[in-house]
């Protein structure tokens, strides 16, 4: 293994990642002002401040939690890219975890860092291409994509994704997986108001599973296939 090259690669990842994040942030926040100039109306900053207090604070907290939880899953390169390109829960995280699973790499290793970055970059580019093609072909595609027959299919993208991922991960330790599944199901059944907050409920669900996993890990040294 070329250690010097990889050390350089890691340093470079942080430099490029930080630079790209800063430029992307500047472009994304600057765009509404530029667009405002083009269409003849600048953003009303006091309304933005009020709106931020009413809707933005929740998302700010959620973003901090996402950073803390997902950065270790994604590594350096994958982390920078995923936070620039978005759609973390419904796409980037499962995509990176699937790639890691296929490659059989371990968290925190250079190999895992590389697989995660490759996966997030390929996934982001695919979304960019699909959306660009979709926008280009919007007029002919619109009737097909919005046809009533296909609506149930597109309304169930996330259940289809999580069903497939559930098989992949639950089989690693079915007994462990049943604990959060039963707890969450009972919680949502008894407090249906929480159903629309599923993305926030990931945290307690993840915390419970990690705590149980730690107990199994302490006993067996791994959590995988502990029931065998």
């Amino acid at each position: 293994m070329n250690n010097e090259y990889l050390e350089k690669y890691n340093k470079g990842t942080h430099i490029i990642g930080r630079l790209a994040s800063a430029i992307a942030l500047f472009l994304l926040v600057g765009a509404p002002f530029l667009i405002g100039k083009v269409i003849g109306g600048m953003p009303d900053l006091s309304a933005v401040a009020k709106g931020f207090i009413s809707v933005g604070l929740v998302w700010t907290i959620s973003s901090v939690v996402e950073f803390l939880v997902y950065t270790p899953m994604l590594g350096a390169g994958g982390g920078y890219l995923a936070f620039i390109t978005g759609n973390l829960i419904n796409m980037k995280i499962p995509c990176a975890m699937n790639a890691k699973e296929m490659a059989g790499t371990r968290s925190g290793t250079t190999e895992n860092e590389i697989i995660s970055t490759l996966s997030i970059a390929a996934s982001s580019l695919t979304t960019i291409v699909v959306l660009a093609l979709g926008v280009l072909l919007l007029t002919p595609l619109q009737p097909i994509l919005q046809s009533e027959t296909l609506q149930p299919a597109f309304a169930n993208v996330v259940p289809a994704l999580f069903g497939a991922m559930a098989y992949q991960y639950f089989r690693k330790n079915l007994k462990l997986a049943m604990a959060p599944l039963i707890i969450m199901s009972v919680l949502f059944i008894l407090v249906p108001a929480l159903i629309s907050q599923a993305s926030i409920m990931i945290l307690p669900s993840g915390a419970i599973t990690i705590a149980l996993a730690y107990m199994i890990y302490k006993k067996n040294g791994t959590i995988e296939k502990a029931e065998k």
């Binding site: 269409i39 809707v55 390169g77 796409m91 959306l131 098989y167 997986a177």
Partner: protein, 248 residues
């Protein structure tokens, strides 16, 4: 107004930013591939990672495209195209755009009520609510990962076993999937009133079918050594699950 929001100038601004992000992705992709070769990783595995990530992403991307279409009626096409290609998330954009419209006095999110100031304000609010992951990455990605790596190594050295990091990631993902599947079960049982069992059963059926198809893919990949199937297993399972939703 909708004509203005679909003007070539807006396409150029939004397309330019998307282009920049695409270049960044390409740079990361090429660097990671080269580093993989330098690290002695199997070229086939690196290529399989790219193929599986592409196939994995196509179907959810079409779902996101529907989000662009849904928002394009009120915000024009270029802005939702930008938001959902870069940084945004499907569940976030619609919700924040609607809330922002209420805050700026546009009322419901519609092209008929939209004004230039209203649009620029909504666009700015959508932009400043979720860049925090990017900002935190800028400041803390390096130090946070260093800290976690150090902790895992220390633990592994102490215990002479693999670190808990991998197990924690698997557990976190089990928790994530459980929260969503639990919400489908809760929705069916109590979505229309406590224990009425009148909620939508479709997401549960779709998830189960998708999982069953995934099991078939895994069987062939693992037992029949058809490793190439792994690249398409998630996408294939999703496709069958989604198709099932059409026939339910």
């Amino acid at each position: 107004m909708i004509r203005t929001l679909n003007s070539p100038a807006l396409y150029a601004i939004c397309g330019g930013i998307i282009g920049f992000v695409a270049v960044v992705c390409l740079v990361f992709l090429i660097r990671a591939y080269r580093a993989g070769i330098a690290a002695g990783m199997d070229k086939g595995m690196l290529k399989r990672t790219i193929t599986s990530s592409v196939t994995f992403t196509i179907l959810p991307s079409v779902g996101i495209l529907l989000g662009v279409i849904a928002l394009s009626g009120s915000l024009g096409t270029p802005w939702p195209w930008l938001r959902l290609s870069v940084i945004g998330a499907l569940h976030y954009e619609t919700q924040v755009a609607q809330a922002a419209a209420e805050q700026v006095g546009v009322g419901t999110l519609s092209a008929a009520n939209m004004t230039p100031v209203g649009f620029a304000t909504i666009a700015l609010l959508m932009s400043i609510c979720i860049p925090w992951g990017m900002i935190l990455s800028f400041f803390f990605n390096k130090s946070y990962l260093k800290k976690i790596k150090g902790k895992n190594k220390e633990e592994a050295d102490k215990e002479k076993t693999p670190s808990f990091g991998d197990s924690a990631m698997i557990a976190m993902f089990m928790g994530l999937v459980s929260a969503y599947i639990g919400s489908y079960i809760g929705g069916f049982v109590s979505g229309e009133g406590l224990f009425t069992f009148k909620g939508d059963l479709t997401p549960i059926i779709v998830a189960v079918i998708s999982a069953a198809v995934m099991a078939v893919f895994t069987y062939f990949a693992e037992k029949k050594h058809m490793v190439w199937l792994e690249s398409f297993s998630i996408a294939g399972s999703m496709l069958v699950g989604m198709l099932a939703a059409v026939f339910i």
